[in-house]
């Protein structure tokens, strides 16, 4: 049994390999880029607009609204990065309804690449917002003793992002594979439906966690937003009067 689509190799020539992960990632990139290009080629601002433009507007405004709620104030600035993450992860799990397709996010290399993008983007956005000194000072808060722990948390949450997405996607494919050998007729269909739901939730969580990390890096000097860090944010439990 294959643990990841890395081991399904389509073409090999010496050092170069074309495995299923790369091929399906390229396919998804082509689908997303060509789809957006085709839709945005003829945008209209009056009331008669195409249905595809409506679809794209719904998606983009929904993502922007979510980013605003996390506390990143000009959402248009961050929607390019966070929205791409969301759309790629969501599309890679939605395409599992195509037979023969394997989601590239069920390979640890793809999810590590996505998590490394977040790992690089968080300091970049933070430095752009507060300058290098202001960003680096945030590591020594509340005291200098917390410095190594802050650095460790920076690394461990990158690892957690990668392994969480990989584990969820891989377990979906793995469970369907195991169930096909036990109850091959109806039950895998329901697990596929559950896998679609899990994929959408994971895409949401991946992008919202990236947004929370960026928000924590950019706004730590200003007034604390409603959800600065997931570990510190508490739902308001004050009794309703």
């Amino acid at each position: 049994m294959r643990l990841s689509p890395d081991q399904l190799i389509f073409w090999q020539h010496g050092f170069l390999k074309l495995n299923a992960t790369i091929v399906f990632t390229w396919g998804l990139m082509l689908l997303l880029a060509a789809g957006s290009e085709l839709i945005t080629r003829k945008l209209s601002t009056d009331l008669t607009r195409s249905r595809w433009q409506n679809l794209l507007e719904i998606v983009v405004t929904a993502i922007e609204k979510q980013i605003e709620e996390v506390g990143l104030s000009p959402a248009r600035k961050y929607v390019g990065f966070l929205g791409t993450l969301f759309l790629f992860v969501a599309a890679s799990s939605l395409c599992t309804i195509i037979p023969g397709y394997q989601p590239p996010t069920s390979s640890l290399s793809t999810t590590t690449a996505l998590a490394l993008c977040v790992f690089v983007a968080v300091p970049l956005f933070g430095i752009e917002d507060q300058g290098i000194g202001g960003y680096l000072k945030a590591y020594a808060k509340p005291t200098v003793i917390m410095l190594p722990f802050n650095i460790i948390s920076e690394l461990s949450r990158t690892l957690a992002l990668a392994v969480r997405l990989f584990g969820n996607m891989m377990s979906g494919a793995m469970i369907i594979g195991i169930l096909l050998t036990i109850t091959p007729f109806i039950f895998p269909v329901f697990m596929t439906m559950l896998g679609l739901l899990t994929g959408m939730v994971q895409a949401y969580i991946f992008s919202i966690l990236a947004a929370v990390y960026i928000a924590a890096a950019t706004r730590s000097r200003k007034a604390a937003p409603a959800l600065a860090k997931p570990g510190l944010a508490k739902p308001e439990l004050a009794p309703a009067t």
Partner: protein, 93 residues
């Protein structure tokens, strides 16, 4: 018992234990957090957006521990490094 049998027994038993315990404890944690979030939702329906988003982020954090256990047991069963080592040693003899 030779060493390959011992490695196989240890791997299989540990894989089962890992997934068992690693599903049980995050399930308890997720149940607690969902019930608390439901209480908060019932008390303050206006704050539902914030509560739901925080709940989702927290559930993802909790669930990732279960996912780690699952990944470890999958590695133990399908991609066991010790098993590969023992097999390579036996073949080398």
């Amino acid at each position: 018992m030779d060493s390959s049998t011992l490695v196989a027994i240890a791997s299989i038993v540990t894989a089962g234990l890992t997934t068992g315990v690693g599903c049980m404890c995050p399930a308890l944690g997720e149940g607690r957090s969902v019930s608390t979030a439901l209480t908060a939702l019932a008390q303050q329906p206006d704050a539902s957006a914030t509560i739901t988003r925080t709940l989702f982020v927290g559930l993802a954090m909790i669930e990732s521990t279960a996912i780690y256990c699952f990944v470890v047991s999958m590695i133990l069963i399908f991609a066991n490094p010790f098993w590969t080592h023992v097999i390579a040693q036996t073949a080398g003899k």
